[in-house]
Symmetry: C2
């Protein structure tokens, strides 16, 4: 395969985020949260809002680009785009879409972001009597699969059945994230350490997921500015280059027809594209941010990305292997969705940028290459590889 045309041609030059607060505790609207994160990212890049001409998001962000552009004072919007059909699978994908706009000369500086104030709109984690289901949900709802936890519990239970993955191994993911959050004052779980025994004693939500297997429910927003590698040279921060980025689905990913889809985070094909585009292998990855709606999916995502063989993800996450500072693959060094905040995984993108700048609160020494894996799911997923 020839070299991917976009390799190293675009860069993230600014990041921003709001204060992260527990579900329902922010006093600001989701729209205000979006504006604040976007403005902070622009400021971080040393740019003016007048330089921005693109906005993109994912997972059906409730804001409207015209209103954001008007409120922010963006003179002209040349690109406004939504990754389609993804939930948390869209963080890297939104960055991907921004890269394409920049690379094609269709926009100069694009902000990718996600704003989420679940407290104002209802909880992902709950189903309601009389709830309307549509599309893919319609296949699961008659069997009681109404919430994300129910759906992913089914997959995690199958992984446990096939490979002997244990609840303590799920817990190891939660413990690593919580440990990292203890160094990060932005994290909602900062100052609230957790042991594996705490995890084991936490209440069952949907078997096999206990409370601490589930991502936070929080309010906040995070954003990143993407531009060309050439323009990046003139920005305030050291550019973080996008080596590779990919999005999508494999065959019948959206189907319950194929039981081989039940023990995977569905990154097989997308990860293969990713490594080919970036021109690196799993061995080159120094640090990773791996989307965790639920702990079990991290284990499968680690397998999908080639850090270990299929079925070996459980043992892989044990023994501190995914913990900073000494693990061989530190993951979610800000605390991630489980312990920093749940911005639908965009906080993993901003943390990846910090790692490549050398400014994380759990900075991996001499880290040069970072993986971001966005989302497991039956909907499209996405991932990317950044370098300093």
């Amino acid at each position: 395969m020839s070299v991917w045309p976009m390799r190293d041609q675009t860069a993230i030059v600014g990041i921003g985020e709001t204060e992260y607060t527990k579900w329902g505790q922010t006093r600001r609207s989701e729209f205000q949260l979006a504006c604040e994160a976007i403005l902070k990212a622009i400021e971080d890049a040393g740019l003016n809002v007048k330089d921005i001409d693109g906005l993109c998001s994912y997972a059906g962000d409730r804001n409207e680009p015209s209103l954001l552009a008007t409120a922010l004072g963006i003179p002209q919007l040349r690109f406004s785009n939504m990754l389609w059909g993804g939930g948390g699978g869209g963080g890297s994908g939104a960055v991907h879409n921004a890269c394409m706009a920049v690379f094609s000369g269709s926009a100069n500086h694009v902000v990718a972001f996600r704003a989420l104030a679940q407290g104002q709109f209802g909880r992902f984690g709950q189903s309601r009597t009389g709830q309307k289901v549509s599309g893919g949900q319609a296949y699961g709802a008659p069997f009681g699969l109404m919430t994300p936890a129910q759906r992913f519990a089914l997959q995690t239970r199958r992984h446990m059945h096939l490979y002997g993955t244990t609840s303590r191994q799920l817990g190891a993911v939660a413990v690593a994230c919580r440990k990292h959050a203890q160094h990060n004052p932005r994290a909602i779980m900062y100052g609230r350490p957790m042991t594996l025994e705490d995890h084991q004693n936490s209440r069952m939500i949907v078997d096999p997921f206990r409370l601490y297997d589930c991502c936070l429910e929080s309010d906040g927003a995070a954003a990143a500015v993407i531009t060309s590698a050439e323009r990046a040279k003139n920005c305030k921060q050291r550019p973080v280059y996008i080596m590779g980025v990919s999005q999508g689905t494999g065959f019948q990913q959206g189907s319950f027809a194929d039981k081989s889809k039940f023990d995977t985070a569905n990154f097989e094909e997308v990860a293969k594209d990713l490594y080919e585009r970036a021109g690196v292998t799993p061995r080159d990855i120094d640090v990773a941010q791996i989307y965790e709606n639920f702990t079990g999916m991290v284990i499968m995502s680690i397998e999908n990305h080639g850090f270990c063989k299929k079925g070996e993800g459980g043992p892989f996450v044990e023994g501190g292997r995914i913990e900073w500072p000494d693990g061989e693959l530190p993951i979610n060094t800000s605390g991630g969705n489980l312990s920093e905040a749940y911005t639908h995984g965009f906080e993993l993108v901003t943390e990846a940028v910090r790692q490549m700048r050398g400014t994380s609160t759990c900075q991996v020494k001499d880290a040069e290459i970072c993986l971001v894996a966005s989302g497991p799911g039956v909907t499209p997923v996405s991932d990317m590889i950044l370098r300093r």
Copy 2:
């Protein structure tokens, strides 16, 4: 300005559409309509569904890409994308997004489409008691601006006030579209000719819009396959090259704060980008497909695209100037949203391709360059220039 990198680098190689039927009369689901239009476009291109690796749409198309990919048998999806925040403003923009995916090496063959079975989900044209409004709608709803017709009537009335535009001039747009539909057996209004007097005698919907100033309410879907100019050479049909394509909004387009936004279809900045990217001027355009949710917006769109001066759009559309075969700028040669079908304007994209292939039922002689203007609106709009 240097040459736009994407000029002539991508092409539309296949088009497809379902049967178009009146609101509520299709026996198929919106999902089936989408699949049928997509499969027809793939067949038209001489490709196999296994060649397709991207899907994009706009205006919140209700289908889900994973389910479409599964149903169609697409082996791997590498791009799934939704123009964000547009209504009918997204037809050319969806093609734009597909072009970016192809040009950046992120996908090989992308299908852009729109499926719309309003009969199964409620009508755009009606508001309901207790209807929830959000975002930009919230600014107009307290003043009774609930439906698209109400909103655009306000703009059209202002154009009439400022420039003396008349109801008969609005009617000239409707008459031209209906005339073209008499040659097009696909058109819902095929076999139902209309005179200017019929227009004047039709009932008032929202002053100044009479029934025949409003787009159809219909069920159907349309699709187009986009690939690189290089791959296009190996496809079955003569490629139609995308010279330029742009999307977006100008300053405060999403706002009611600026009254200068009330007599325009909001294409000023987007059209400027478009002509620069394509390297042509309005004089080079042989035929145009101009989105008509309502006749008044066509007049403003014609002004925005530089075919006449601001305020002169009313006289411009008179005297058969926009009618095939003798007009100097034939528009909407299939009948368009007003008389062929309302697929949210994607039928204008497929008609533009036919004009460039030389296969329209109102074929403009020796036409080499075609403009597509997608949408007026407070949300992002988009437009493109195709060449044979």
